[in-house]
Amino acid sequence: MALSEIRRPTGALSDPSRFLLDDECAEDYGRLRDLYVADLAPANALERRQVELILRCDLDIERQYRMIQQKLTHEAHIKSRPRQIIDDFRAYTEMDGDGDGDDVSDGAGYGGAGPAGQGASPPAPEPKLNTPDIARAYTINRAMIDIHQRELNHTHRRRRHEIELLFKMQDRRRRPTVHDAEIIEVG
């Protein structure tokens, strides 16, 4: 790359929203970054970047735990989509009266949830979870939970590696200020 081709950077470096989910707050990210910077005391841009990567690892660990929790608790009472469709269809044919289900001229059941959504009562509060519910949610979502678990393990490893790199950089920076050991003659 020729130097003449290099233009002034546009500040695309640290736009935190690129590295956050919709339900995560960029301000919180900024606050956390300040805390990490205060704690790990980076002295230059390379070290600051390293601190930011450590922070991203920590956020990702939290994120993976949150997603696993979501799979195990909030989705424990949600019916699978095929089950939902078939249940809606059965409710529709039962309401239809004769049960043959051929009267679709009013389009009530066409392409959607059928009459289940019509005149529906307000949603009931989520019932309390017990162990069988969580076990059932785990069985249903096992493949996805395994992915998050694997990512979690990987992020823990990555975090250790990033910290190691930061310490290595800081050691290298401080090396010139450390005096050489002096050999003292004994006796």
Binding site: R7, R63, G101, V104, G111
Partner: protein
């Protein structure tokens, strides 16, 4: 081109975008930070080994950012829209054809198959995005260590 083909192409572009050569602006932004501002970039000979190592690190940093952004865009996905659309078709057929134990069994079988496919598709995307991210992180780690040798 069929709508399915167009969708595939779009997905390919996203997938390859996560691994493609990053844009010059992103690389320059990182290079500038590595070398200590725009002035540092101007003062550095990018053809000598330290300059090349800094440039390589900047490219890796930009790739890492891309891979991470791609990973985060895939992470919240739960279902594949295309499979869900096909499930809606099965549902339509069910409502139009009327009740019948045989039809209901067949519809259930197909809906379950599509549901599985939807989950598998999203799981594959997540695994792939995770792999891209790990590759970008490993590459960036190596580039950083190489650059540190010159400091």
């Amino acid at each position: 081109m069929s709508p399915a083909g167009a969708r595939d192409r779009k997905f390919n572009a996203t997938t390859h975008g996560a691994q493609s050569q990053p844009g010059g602006e992103e690389v320059v932004a990182h290079l500038s930070a590595i070398l200590g501002g725009a002035r540092g970039v101007g003062d550095t000979d990018l053809e000598c080994p330290p300059g090349l190592a800094a440039l390589q690190l900047a490219v890796c940093e930009a790739r890492l950012d891309r891979a991470q952004a791609h990973y985060l865009s895939v992470l919240p996905q739960e279902r594949d829209a295309e499979c869900d659309h096909m499930m809606e078709h099965v549902e339509d057929v069910l409502y139009f054809s009327g009740a019948g134990a045989e039809l209901e069994r067949e519809a259930t079988r197909r809906l379950r198959g599509l549901d599985r496919l939807s989950h598998d598709t999203v799981a594959r995307r997540k695994r792939l995005a995770g792999r891209y991210l790990r590759e970008a992180q490993a590459e960036r780690g190596r580039a950083l260590e190489a650059y540190l040798e010159f400091l």
